[in-house]
């Protein structure tokens, strides 16, 4: 128990320390040590409670509740004030209703509701804290190096590193709280804190764009928080329970479904699903570590985590169907829109939303196999995507641009980064890596549960995924050479270490999936569904593993492929064929009249077909209609 408390409180203490201590070297030292200790604590907690799990009820919750309430009121006051100052009245409105609801509930209805277990550590939350703790601490470490370079390049941004680092650690604390608490009130509190951290980090640069985007993110997520609060009130007043586990154990009667639906809407806003996804795209203005930590690896996973928790109540129910469809629309639309993006972070953002959509589908289909796939997707997506974000952040510092088109020289500038990038991209869509395995199981479960539409959507979304990652990969391997005299600052050690560790984790995770499956997923599914679960990829698993190992060893050969010719027989190298005279540098050809002309090849973006304007508009409309249909159906169910 004390270990759990320490796990939640330690990042908070680090956060305060980092905020207070402004001296560069001391602060960096605290950051590094803090990150390391957080990682160690996470591992300790995960292993300590992994076998038996932990269910605790905290005595004297009144004190904690009152503290929480005070913080919430302050937060709400701040948000309402911000809303009024920035003329975002919707934001103030959401926040005001929310706090009134919560206060009303707390003082009039809550008496007599006993919470048995406030904190649950089971297999799923162990996985989540491992993701948050390990990846989170790596990203915090990375932030030390990244922010140093960031402020060299962005001299116009006022330096507020202490603030930035402090918010990162504060976020870790809240995230631990979120995944560990079973008490809905506590969970809600942590939920709001993560929203607020996200807002602070997006607004870091204080430019007009950053300010607008951060306010949009805040508005949407506070709206989600409102749904969450509504769910708490419904559950509390009607069923007198305050625990998530008690809620999921209920039968799916209309009122429970209404609460579940509201919680799912909150989850959809957090996971940036359509029609709420615009905030995540806007969030890309934030410095990269926060994009990696909040907007791909952990915070957005909180939404899908909640949906996975609620999965027993989804599945065939109205709420489940609607959420599945929303996830499907998101997955397809965002996969298609990613094709038309040139900005590396935008591609990553679209891909994140799409993959979250896939996880939402898997979780809300609610069969054992699909949840198996959902949890694996959460794990693999977190590791691959944070690696990609970190690499893109460093690439931006190296090349001075994050346009995918400019990355053809990366192999020449920094081979390490390029190889890590290739590993990350491969992790997202190529064969031996976990994402694809999970997709495969997901498809199996969709067919088994007769979701034909979802199967078709998965087919098309995967094809689009293949296209945008493929062309990026192509840019990375095309042996461009930088212009003479270009400056490329090297990587900081603080950046290099986390990136390399992450790359290793990605590589390891694809071998580790049978282990994860056996020791984490199967027991979890058994606990949740009460029946023995089997590994979806059954017979032939052994041969499969051998094949996987073969494939991975082949893939590891890729980076090595850049060396071997030196010790083999020297081959004749000639200039490339340009259907005319190559002027000798492989970049120019001699045109008519003896003029040198540059030959340039750019990737296909097909804005006319996959432009985000049209697809974005229609997919938003569809998802809004779906959600409205869900509301109407639920009301109808309840009334009848």
């Amino acid at each position: 128990m004390s270990l759990i408390m320490l796990l939640i409180l330690f990042p908070f203490i680090t956060s305060v320390l980092v905020y207070v201590i402004r001296e560069e070297h001391t602060r960096n030292a605290i950051m590094r040590i803090g990150a390391a200790i957080t990682a160690v604590l996470t591992l300790a907690a995960a292993f300590r409670f992994f076998g038996a799990g932990l269910r605790v009820s905290v005595g004297g919750t009144e004190v904690i509740d009152i503290c929480i309430l005070i913080v919430e009121v302050c937060l709400a006051a701040y948000i309402i004030m911000t809303g009024i100052r920035e003329r975002k009245y919707l934001l103030s409105f959401f926040s005001a209703i929310q706090i009134v609801l919560i206060l009303w509930f707390e003082f009039t209805q809550k008496k007599g509701i006993e919470t048995g277990t406030d904190i649950i550590v089971d297999k799923l939350s162990s996985v989540m804290i491992l993701i948050v703790g390990i990846i989170g601490s790596l990203i915090c470490l990375y932030a030390v190096g990244y922010m140093k370079s960031y402020h060299v390049h962005h001299s116009e941004v006022k330096e507020r590193k202490s603030f930035f680092f402090a918010v990162l650690f504060l976020f870790l604390s809240a995230m631990f709280g979120l995944v560990l608490s079973n008490n809905l009130m506590w969970m809600y509190f942590c939920w709001e804190i993560t929203t607020f951290c996200s807002y602070l980090l997006i607004g870091y640069t204080r430019t007009e764009e950053a300010k607008n985007n951060s306010l949009r993110a805040l508005t949407i997520n506070v709206g989600g928080g409102l749904a969450f609060a509504g769910a708490i009130v419904i559950v509390g007043t009607n069923f007198h329970i305050m625990e998530l586990s008690a809620l999921t154990a209920k039968r799916p009667v209309p009122l429970v479904l209404a609460a579940v639906f509201l919680l799912c809407v909150a989850a959809l806003t957090k996971s940036a699903q359509l029609p709420f996804s615009s905030w995540l795209l806007g969030a890309m203005v934030a410095p990269t570590p926060s994009s990696a930590l909040l907007h791909s690896a952990t915070m957005v996973k909180a939404g899908v985590y909640l949906i996975i928790r609620l999965a027993p109540l989804l599945g065939e129910t109205v709420a489940g169907r609607i959420i599945t469809l929303v996830g499907a629309v998101t997955f397809l639309a965002c996969s298609l829109m990613a094709i038309s993006q040139r900005d590396a972070k935008k591609v990553l953002a679209y891909s994140t939303i799409a993959n979250l959509g896939l996880i939402v589908i898997c979780a809300s289909v609610g069969t054992r196999e699909s949840i198996w796939a959902a949890i694996l997707l959460v794990i693999f997506h977190a590791v691959s995507k944070s690696l990609l974000f970190l690499s893109v952040g460093s690439i931006e510092n190296e090349l001075g641009s994050r346009n995918v088109e400019n990355m053809d020289i990366l192999m020449d500038v920094s081979r390490k980064l390029a190889v890590c990038m290739i590993i990350g991209i491969s992790g997202m869509f190529l064969a031996p890596f976990g994402m694809l395995i999970s997709k495969w199981v997901a498809m199996k479960s969709f067919i088994d549960s007769k979701n034909i539409l979802i199967v078709v959507i998965l087919a098309y979304g995967s094809a689009a995924t293949l296209f945008y990652w493929g062309k990026w990969l192509g840019k990375l391997v095309s042996n461009g050479h930088p212009k003479k005299g270009e400056q490329h600052p090297g990587l900081h050690l603080d950046e290099k270490i986390p990136i390399i560790i992450q790359a290793v984790i990605v590589l390891l995770s694809c071998v580790a999936y049978p282990v994860i499956s056996k020791y984490v997923l199967i027991p979890y599914l058994q606990d949740t569904f009460g029946v023995a679960a089997v590994i979806p990829i059954g017979a032939g698993d052994q041969t499969l593993m051998i094949l996987m190992v073969v494939m991975i060893s082949l893939l590891i050969l890729v980076p090595l492929g850049y060396a071997p010719t030196s010790f083999l027989k020297k081959r004749r190298t000639t200039p490339i064929y340009m259907a005319g005279e190559n002027s000798g540098d492989n970049k120019n050809f001699v045109g008519s009249g003896g003029v040198k002309r540059k030959s340039e090849m750019s990737n296909w973006y097909m804005e006319g077909i996959f432009g985000s304007k049209r697809i974005g508009f229609w997919s938003n409309i569809i998802s809004i209609v779906l959600l409205c249909a869900g509301v109407i159906l639920l009301i109808g169910r309840w009334a009848s």
Partner: protein, 288 residues
């Protein structure tokens, strides 16, 4: 031991069969055009010649991808012909194709990059149907393993006629036949030169040819799976259908012109969407 022999036989005989089919392809194409055409064994002569020739490179890394691609394609053939998992087959096949087109990107020549981009576009065009083929086969047989799919009472084609038609449609992409030979083809393509393989010569070009032979057999292998069931007659029928489909593709190749990429993509997606969805929906309606 048995498995080792089997693997060896597959590795040796698959390209032989693929090469022979390519030889017949050239012969039949020639006859369709009123020519005599090269000997049937011409593809083998070509490859043996290429193996003897010098291999030139434009940079140290571009040849590497071709070899990796070949390895993955061989792996695909092994998985498929030993009756392995059909989804794994598709994934590894995709991996092989990805490496092939990375070779195009890596050689950096304008023509090979253009070829690689078009190849990627083609992959996006045909991938949904591949995926739905696997889904349909799983739907009717409840297993992803090819050896179980081809050992059922009824051949899968009875349940999946529309998906089969859709698959034959995208087979044109896979076999790189006109009207969908956007990325590289055996006809003269002025604007494309030789697509991805433009910068490859000698041994690496020979390996590309061998990769294509494997791919031809793998592509026809999917057709085979649709028709084979547990009686020996269906297996013979399946082989015959494979040959008919291949003949059909040759005739199509010689009687159509290349379409633009927009049309190729939208046609492929439309056909896959309509046929695939219709077939799956009908199946689920009758509740198999």
């Amino acid at each position: 031991m048995m498995l080792a022999v089997k693997i060896l036989l597959i590795i040796i005989f698959t390209p032989l069969a693929g090469g022979l089919l390519t030889g017949f392809d050239r012969k039949i194409s020639a006859r369709l055009q009123g020519r005599q055409g090269p000997p049937v064994l011409q593809p083998f002569y070509d490859v043996l010649k290429l193996l003897q020739k010098e291999t030139i490179e434009v940079n140290p890394s571009h040849r590497f991808y071709v070899y990796v691609s070949l390895m993955f394609i061989i792996l695909t053939a092994l998985i498929m012909l030993t009756g392995g998992d059909i989804l794994l087959t598709i994934f590894v096949l995709t991996l092989g194709s990805i490496f092939f087109l990375l070779g195009g990107y890596a050689s950096q020549s304008p023509y090979s990059v253009l070829g690689a981009e078009r190849e990627l576009l083609q992959m996006m065009a045909y991938e949904p149907m591949m995926f739905m083929t696997a889904a349909g086969l799983y739907y009717v047989s409840n297993t992803f393993f090819i050896r179980d799919i081809v050992n059922r009472k009824m051949p899968a084609i009875i349940y999946l006629p529309a998906i089969f038609v859709g698959f034959v449609f995208i087979l044109t992409f896979k076999l790189r036949k006109s009207p969908f030979d956007l990325s590289l083809g055996h006809h003269a393509h002025q604007e494309l030169v030789q697509g991805i393989s433009t910068e490859y010569s000698g041994r690496s070009l020979a390996f590309i040819e061998i990769t294509h032979w494997y791919e031809t057999i793998i592509a026809l292998g999917f057709v085979y799976i649709f028709f084979a069931a547990d009686s020996i007659g269906t297996h013979i029928l399946a082989v015959i259908v494979c040959l008919i489909v291949y003949l059909f593709e040759i005739i199509l190749d010689n009687s159509t012109v290349r379409v633009k990429w927009q049309k190729a993509l939208s046609l492929a997606w439309l056909v896959s969407g309509v046929l695939g969805t219709a077939n799956l929906v009908v199946l689920s309606f009758f509740n198999f």
